[in-house]
Structures are given as C-alpha cells and as structure tokens.
Symmetry: C2
Subunit: 264 residues, 2 copies
DNA sequence: CTAATAGTGTCTGTGAGACACTATGGA
DNA sequence: TCCATAGTGTCTCACAGACACTATTAG
C-alpha cells in the first residue's frame, strides 16, 4: 500500500500528505546558445560565492513559490542578459519571441550530491538567441562571457577548469539538443537576426554542427521546403559577393523531410 | 534535515543561501506505456484520497532526500508494477534493462497551482514495457488498470472523467515522445518480449502510431538496417501462417535512416 | 484444398550529394 | 580585371512506397 501516515520518517511519508514532505530547493539553469564569429557559444557567469567560487557556471537561480518553471527561466534570462523570451503552454513548454529568442525546457537534474550544501533539483532550460552585442550579468559585465562550446565540451572544462556543479553535463545535453533539433525543425532561424540570407542560415548550421555544407545543395533544400523561409523582398551584400535575398522565418516549425547532418 | 529559517522573504532571497530557500515538494510521475491487444495502453492508478479522490492518475510519488530522480522513478515503478528498470548516467538520464523495460526522463511540470494543496514540482518519466500479465498496485489490483491511450487522449479523459492533476497533459507528452522516438531509434523493441518476430515488431509500430504499415516494406526496412535486429536462430508460428524468424534487439540505438511515420 | 502470415523481387518517384555553370556585386 | 558569394541545372545513387509473387505453416 502506498499511503503511510507517519510524518516523522521523511523517506516513508504519505504520498500526498501536504503537512510533511521532503523539502527541496528548485532552481532553473539556463543553457544560452548563440553563434558568434562562426562558432557556437554558450553564456557563462562567474560565481562570486562558495561553493565553486570563481568558477564559471551556467546562469540560473531559485524558482519562486509563485511562478512557473518557464516563467522563472524567462525571468532569470532577462535578469542576466536583458533578453526577453516569452513562454506559453504547449506540448512540452516551449516559447519563442517575435525577435526569435527561443526558450524550451531541457531536462531536470537532481542527483542528491549535485550541490554540496543541500538538496537542489535544477530544471535546465535551453535558450537559442541571435548574436548579441555583449553579455551583462546584472550590470556586472566582467562576470559574464560567451565561451565557445568547442572549448567547453569534450574535456568539459573552461580555461582548464571544469564548470561548477554538473553544469558541464547540462551544457553538453543542451548543445546536443540544439544540434539534433535543427535537423528536423526550423529552430536554426532562432540563431539569426529577424532578416537573414540563406548563406547566413547555412553558416549557423555549419557552426552548430561543426561541419561544412555545400552551399548549392543547402540553398536548394531550404528554399524548396515550404514554410521554412519567407522572402522579405530586400537584398543585402553584407557578406560580400553577389547580393543575396533576405528572408524571415516562415511559419513552419517541423521540417519534413529534415535537414540531414553529415556523418563524420 | 533541512530547515527553512526565513520564511518571510521567500521571493527575494540570495540565490544560493543554503539557510533560506523556497521549499518545494518534488515528485516523480510515471507514464508507463505498453502494447496490449494491438492497442497502446497506459498504466493508471485510482487515487484513494483527496484531492481528485476516486480519479484515475499516473503512478508516482515523492522523491526521497537521499535518492536521485531516475532512482525514485525506478523505485516507484517497482513498487507499483513489480517491474525493474535500471537507470544509468548518460546524456539525459536513460536506462534499459536486459528484459527491455525502458525508462527515461520525460519533462518536468511545475505550474504553481498544479497541486491545490502545496507547491509540487513533478519530474515525469516515460517507461516502455512489453505486454505484462496484469497490473498490481502495491498488491491492490483493483486500483490499477491499463487504459488504451486512444480513450484517454483527445478528450484527455477516462470514462468521461479527466485524469487527476495535469496528468492528462503529461500522458499526452509521454505518448508523443514515444511516437516520435520509435521513428529514429530502436526503442520499439522495448515493447516486445526478449524474442520477437518482424511481424510482432510491425504490430507495435502500428499500435503506437495508429496506422497500418505494408508488411513487405517494413520487413525489408528493419532487416536491412544494420544493428537493429539480431536473428536468434529460432522460429515461431505463434502468429499463425508460415514460421517466422525470431530476433532479439540489436545493439543499435539510433536508426539511420529513420523509420518514416506515414502521414494521415 | 484454403487461409494466413513470412519473406523476396521489381518498378517508380523523391530527394540528397556531387559538381559544372551562370549571375552580380566590391576592390 | 579578379574574387567572393548567390543561385540554377544536371547527373547519380539510395531509398520509400506500391505491389506481384513465392514459401510454409494450420486447419
């Protein structure tokens, strides 16, 4: 039987007795990814207090008792970067602003010893943003930076030092989510400014996947997928060469057939 | 034991002050899916106490302070069904027993009002199991049942009554995860007994997707994908007709190219 | 025999990858 | 002029879907 009424034993209490339950702290952590200078980068903040004082960590913070998880992630994002990401209910919490900043729940990490001081369960969220001017962390610019994920992954370290807590694993999971999700969705446009060229979108795929794609086949593929790109009418030569058409993200979210990530 | 010292300033406390944090209850809920009689079914338990007394709900329970999330899900699964699912660390917590029972984290649900009594954050997990004899809920068989998801979804109700809490949405998310994951992984074998035929595997796909697949093309596809199926040598006529080769699940987890789910 | 399922072979259309070729700007 | 990038056309191979046909059991 599931129900036990003794409230003294934390591990064996009634399943839904509201007066006695094991108390957890719940936080949100953010994997904020962008493409800068042909490289996939993640936002890191420097910890100012123990434990892991002086280590780089993912931005995040406590969930308040009166706010939802996506709401908390959104608030932390705004507090630490000034970005605004709108969340709305859906099949798995996913949000996207008109500007293209994308927020979705990633996974939850709750190993009993992941925080040495107390039992913390962290609901990690993934944010995909276009290239941003420069990070600010609550006004303190020196304690936040964009770090290329290639330096962070593999060894899971930053300047030779691992990230705080289990943030190396969370970051790796977030990067893998982003890499696989741009295969079958139009999410790569979240890394682009409101108007972008096919070449700029291709460079996003190349940076996220770390590969080189054939420009001609890529062009044929993305312009031939209905709903992926909407021509905005204008052109630009900001990449040099022949003027390129400008596009905005189309309404389609799922790409069928998907973009294929080349094998190693 | 963790003590909350400052209960007055819940919303504005220091990010990592261990002596003061908003206290949450953390639970795991389980979306346990199986294929019975050509139908995708989910395990439900009947609630014996308020709120939602008498309603059907997903199995689940509190996470203990000394166990991880997958561990808690595993324990609840064993307590409520007798199944054993092994969990191990990986990119997003995923586990699979030799017998094929598969456990993975699904998503986390933490709307402030999802439980009317207190603030509960629930980490939902997805379990895929082969057809099982009959459910038992801690020995109380009358309070657990397999319900076809077709009756539960769409209207998100059961016998005309919705599931307790937000379990209708959690179930819908779990079913969608299962439906999409058998496209590009060999996870459909988790619904099969240790040895199975190509026809039995095809009926799993048909039940989960709710479609009819061409037996010849399906056979060519799955037997032609390296690492998906391993011939076990034996044959069976349990489905009638010509004896069919028996297979076990191969080592491959990702199918490339994927199985294609037919359009409506 | 018939019924049922298992398994193979063949054709066709779609689309990805490779790559030649043309188009249009700037230095 | 050269050089860079944009964009089109064409060929080939892989593979999904449709479906004819054979194989092997039970009844």
């Amino acid at each position: 039987m599931i129900i036990v009424r003794e409230t003294t034993k934390i591990g064996r209490m009634s399943r839904y007795d509201p007066s006695a339950f094991p108390p957890f702290a719940v936080t949100v952590d953010l994997v904020v990814l962008t493409v800068r200078d042909h490289e996939l980068c993640a936002l890191l903040v420097k910890r100012g207090e123990a434990p892991f004082q002086g280590y780089w960590a993912l931005p995040g913070g406590f969930v308040r008792l009166d706010e939802g998880l996506a709401e908390a992630a959104s608030r932390e994002l705004a507090e630490e970067t000034g970005l605004r990401a709108q969340s709305f209910p859906g099949s798995l919490p996913v949000g996207q602003t008109p500007a293209g900043v994308h927020l979705e729940q990633l996974a939850t990490y709750g190993h009993p010893q992941r925080d040495p001081r107390m039992r913390v369960v962290s609901v990690a969220h993934l944010v995909l943003a276009p290239d941003l001017p420069s990070p600010r962390a609550g006004g303190d610019a020196s304690s936040a930076r964009w770090a290329p994920v290639s330096e962070l992954l593999g060894e899971e370290q930053c300047d030779g030092v691992p990230l705080a807590f289990d943030h190396g694993r969370i970051l790796a999971d977030g990067v893998e989510r982003a890499r696989s999700k741009i295969e079958y969705s139009s999410l790569a446009t979240a890394f682009c400014p409101p108007e972008f060229t096919v070449g700029e979108l291709r460079r996003v795929y190349e940076a996220v996947w770390g590969v080189v794609l054939d420009p001609r086949n890529f062009h044929r593929k993305v312009t031939g997928t209905p709903g992926f790109l909407l021509p905005s009418g204008g052109t630009t030569t900001r990449q040099g060469g022949r003027p390129a058409q400008l596009f905005t993200a189309g309404g389609a979210t799922l790409l069928n057939p998907p973009m294929l990530r080349p094998e190693p």
